[in-house]
Amino acid sequence: MRVPENLVAELVDGELYTSPRPRGRHGRAGSGLGALLMPPFDFGRGGPGGWWIFDEPEVHWGARVDQQVTVPDLAGWRRERMPEIPDDHRFRVVPDWICEIDSPSTFRLDRSVKMPLYAQHGVGHLWMINPEARVLEVFRLEEGRWVVAATYGGEQRVNAEPFEAVEIDLKDLWA
């Protein structure tokens, strides 16, 4: 299957989904959050470290390669669960945390296809960011379901799980 490079392509249950690459506010929220989380949680500067945080990694779900593929806006792995970064572009360890940033073109895909997929594979935490409404929803997986752990908005300073060790100023995410 060939998809032009200006699109993000994802494959879930045999369906190919293509979405425009993030732009504007959406991109700002994603790169802003990456910049806030990487020093304390990935580099271990000003925080506990112990994580790998990646921007738009290509995550392969399930035992068979190239069958279920999504590209979350951000994903994080605890290093004890993924000691080594994969050599190729395929991330095959289930992430411990995923962040998806809502946009009108990806809203339903994120919430009705990708969220159930992530739950089914046991991702521990999911953040949904809506840059338009300036809302961060934090979900925790409990008994196989996404439970609303917290919903933050506007310019709140938050300690949101699983990254409660460091305070994040939400206003840094909004353009």
Partner: protein
């Protein structure tokens, strides 16, 4: 009053819905046509349950729960929990189900959803008419859990298919809600319905 403008009209308090949640006052504009259409279509689908005598529904009731005043877009009570229609201004019986048609994401998801949870509403539907999308939340150990999500591509979310809840089941089996009920179908969406699926 002569020479009134739309600005004057907006100052009229009746155009706002006022809610009191955790000691904070929230005033919101009334829903826009897109949300109102979704609301009326959903009410039409649910009404057979009311006629059958199993549920009582109200559109935008003022729920007086604890110190809070919450106004959901639609609320439902199992008939046995509301044998008489209250003659008070508001309703003090916790609903068995509420539905929010999102008009303000921050208020609906960030403030009202947690408030309904605190008051023990067991089941909530969150409808986004712009995206023709709905989520079913159920209260699980005092926390909101997503039991199902339906939108375009609903047939594909196998992980949540069949997720049921005692409060959700009678509503769903008695009144099947399709995405067509969530908003008037724009032409683009009709095309997408016809697009052959991979399976």
């Amino acid at each position: 009053m002569s020479g009134a403008t739309y600005e004057d009209l907006l100052k009229v308090p009746d155009l706002f819905i006022a809610e009191l949640i955790g000691g904070h006052l929230f005033s919101s504009r009334r829903s826009a046509p897109l949300q109102l259409r979704a609301q009326i279509r959903l009410v039409a689908r649910l009404f057979p349950l009311e006629e059958r005598g199993s549920w009582i529904f109200m559109v935008s009731p003022a729920l007086h729960l604890g110190g809070d005043v919450l106004v959901p877009d639609i609320a439902g009570w199992r008939a046995e929990r509301m044998p008489e229609t209250p003659e008070t201004d508001g309703v003090e019986i916790v609903p068995d189900w509420v539905c929010e048609v999102i008009s303000d994401t921050r208020l609906d998801r960030g403030v009202k959803l947690p408030a309904y949870g605190r008051h023990g509403v067991p089941c909530l539907w969150m409808i986004d008419a712009r995206y023709r999308f709905m989520e079913v939340y159920v209260l699980q150990n005092g926390q909101w859990a997503i039991a199902a999500a339906r939108g375009r591509g609903a047939g594909r979310c196998r992980a949540v298919r069949g997720a049921r809840h005692p409060a959700g089941r009678p509503l769903r089996s008695g009144a099947r809600v399709t995405r067509g009920d969530l908003a008037p179908p724009p032409r683009r969406a009709i095309r997408s319905l016809r697009r052959p699926s991979a399976r």
